[in-house]
Assembly symmetry: C2
Homo-oligomer: 141 residues x 2
Amino acid sequence: MQRFDHNQNHSRPAPLKSTRQRQVILEELRKVTSHPTADKVYQMVRKQLPRISMATVYRNLEMMAETGQIQRIPVPDGPMSFDGDISDHHHIRCRECGRIFDVPKDMRVDVAVPEELGLRTGFDSVECFMQFTGVCPDCKK
Amino acid sequence: MQRFDHNQNHSRPAPLKSTRQRQVILEELRKVTSHPTADKVYQMVRKQLPRISMATVYRNLEMMAETGQIQRIPVPDGPMSFDGDISDHHHIRCRECGRIFDVPKDMRVDVAVPEELGLRTGFDSVECFMQFTGVCPDCKK
DNA sequence: ATAAGTGCAAACGTTTTGCCCTAGC
DNA sequence: GCTAGGGCAAAACGTTTGCACTTAT
């Protein structure tokens, strides 16, 4: 089934139990800058919790995104990536190697646009998903 | 396997044969404004070509995107959509019903950003994928 | 004790593939 | 006649779900 709403700001109630799985997932995600996919997170936490399942990883990533503890980074035409850094920033993805890097959000971008767009299209609560791509310094060779 | 490059501007050689399947797919895509997914395109062309297969639809959509005859619209967290209108414009997607609408590209958006970003990140040929979301007039009720 | 959370395996929706057949050139 | 392209079925991929078991509260 198709899910249309990938907005992460609908905060849901915080989890009721504190589990080792959750702790490790969040820890690992916060200690890297690599914006891993669910599968990468699974590989990372498996070193500490060899019996953890993918389902648990997915369930917790989803929950953490909805409670605002992590950020989801939808990758057009690729698997979802995750970011333990929830500060407001952009991402730039290398078209060669696929790696995602942070971009500080201090530029004159997408600022006045959503309101203007709402007026012109009749849409409510307009948001803008934006992702930069390019060829990273490493891949320039 | 993961595909990182969803850029549609790497024009590949034009197809060698003209087939009925190709004609119908392109026709149908050009006659609607609804930005259908591959499955929707399949349903559309099946009325004229009941024996066509999904594989053919996917193969042709990919080829047409790479030869610049159609546009791919990656939908974050949803199936790829397609647009027979290849003129330069943005899209806005309703978070309630999932429909995609056109937005004219005449706003002061993403203009000077890529160059500046290149300087600041060391990336080459920076591009910006941008997609707006909101609640469409119909879904406001 | 209870119910939230886990692991496992199976299912899901989307997209791709291999193989053999069909049909444009 | 040659080979690009098609149909079919199966596989691949990322993700979700049902269910019985475990564990934090």
